[in-house]
């Protein structure tokens, strides 16, 4: 009986934490500027409209060609088919990273984001820059 109660408590806590960690998306509609930088130059700069409940990932996934990482961090076109966890973007349009030697750093209004692409809350007028960075580089 004690085991069943403990199992129930832990599973309930897990579900609670899981829901708490989920990003509920933007609070209102708005527009953001998306910039893609390949490490040397800007290759895309465009304004996109988002709607209430959208995350940054929803927005870029809808408007740009993404390559995501699968569970082994290998490139996959299946960006929507994720089981738990956050998506990891390896490629945007023709700009590709490989995760081991390069990755996409995300800057929100020129500030390095501590959150992943699906955790960032969109705010009207934000400038979001995806910039390729060499791992181990500055």
């Amino acid at each position: 009986m004690k085991k069943i109660v403990l199992t129930f408590v832990v599973l309930l806590s897990f579900v609670g934490l899981f829901l708490l960690l989920q990003n509920r998306g933007a609070e209102n509609d708005g527009e953001v500027i998306i910039i893609v930088h390949d490490g040397e130059k800007v290759v895309l700069e465009e304004t996109f409209s988002y709607y209430q409940g959208d995350t940054l990932f929803d927005l870029v996934n809808e408007h740009l060609d993404l390559v995501c990482a699968n569970s082994s961090y290998k490139p996959s076109e299946e960006c929507n088919d994720l089981l738990l966890g956050s998506p990891v973007i390896l490629g945007i349009n023709d700009v590709i990273t490989d995760w081991t030697s390069s990755y996409f750093a995300i800057y929100i209004n020129d500030t390095y984001s501590n959150l992943g692409v699906d955790m960032i809350e969109l705010e009207d007028g934000d400038v979001v820059r995806f910039e390729v960075q060499e791992v181990g580089g500055e």
Binding site: T7, V10, F14, S71
Partner: protein, 176 residues
């Protein structure tokens, strides 16, 4: 080391490695923690270090060409199980205490990688790593807790049978 023990160690490593590959499609859901606790209850600390080294070596070779940024934290993190079990936990077989340890270990395992990722990426802010890994740590802690709570005792009994021939024959003869 006795041949029998070496064979048992080899079997233990095979089970550890295979279950991880079988469950690889589920993020951080695995029986590694409960299995290492079962092994730690049966093997000595020295034997556990050998087992963990071979397991981590195989795993790192299979996944990423022995990348030291993954291999070293894995070695350190998994080694914590026999160190804590043989030390602080005084070799306890109480599944409740071990389940709590497994819950905490899920988080410690994730944190162990942070300094190595910081060196590898040169991004010295630990917050992105902590935030990014939190969900996986919660999954690993929960899985560890539940598997230890429910599976540790049956597994330890099963393993004791395989480990102790005399015990096995007594059970076969219905003497126990």
């Amino acid at each position: 080391m006795e041949t029998r023990k070496m064979i048992l160690l080899a079997f233990a490593i095979s089970i550890l490695f295979v279950q991880e590959q079988v469950l690889a499609f589920l993020p951080n859901i695995q029986f590694t923690v409960v299995l290492l606790l079962v092994y730690s209850s049966v093997f000595s600390k020295k034997e556990m270090f050998i087992l963990i080294f071979v397991y981590v070596f195989l795993d790192s070779m299979y996944y990423g060409g022995l990348n030291p940024f993954y291999m070293i934290p894995m070695l350190l993190a998994w080694s914590l199980i026999p160190i804590v079990h043989h030390g602080f936990l005084k070799h306890t077989k109480n599944e409740y205490i071990l389940a709590i340890f497994a819950l905490i270990f899920g988080f410690v395992y994730g944190w162990m990688f942070i300094p190595f990722h910081m060196i590898q990426t040169s991004i010295m802010n630990p917050i992105p790593y902590l935030v990014g890994d939190l969900l996986f740590e919660v999954i690993m802690g929960t899985t560890g807790f539940l598997t230890v709570l429910w599976v540790y005792k049956p597994l330890i009994n099963l393993f004791a049978l395989a480990y102790d021939t005399e015990l096995y024959h007594r059970v076969s003869r219905n003497e126990l």
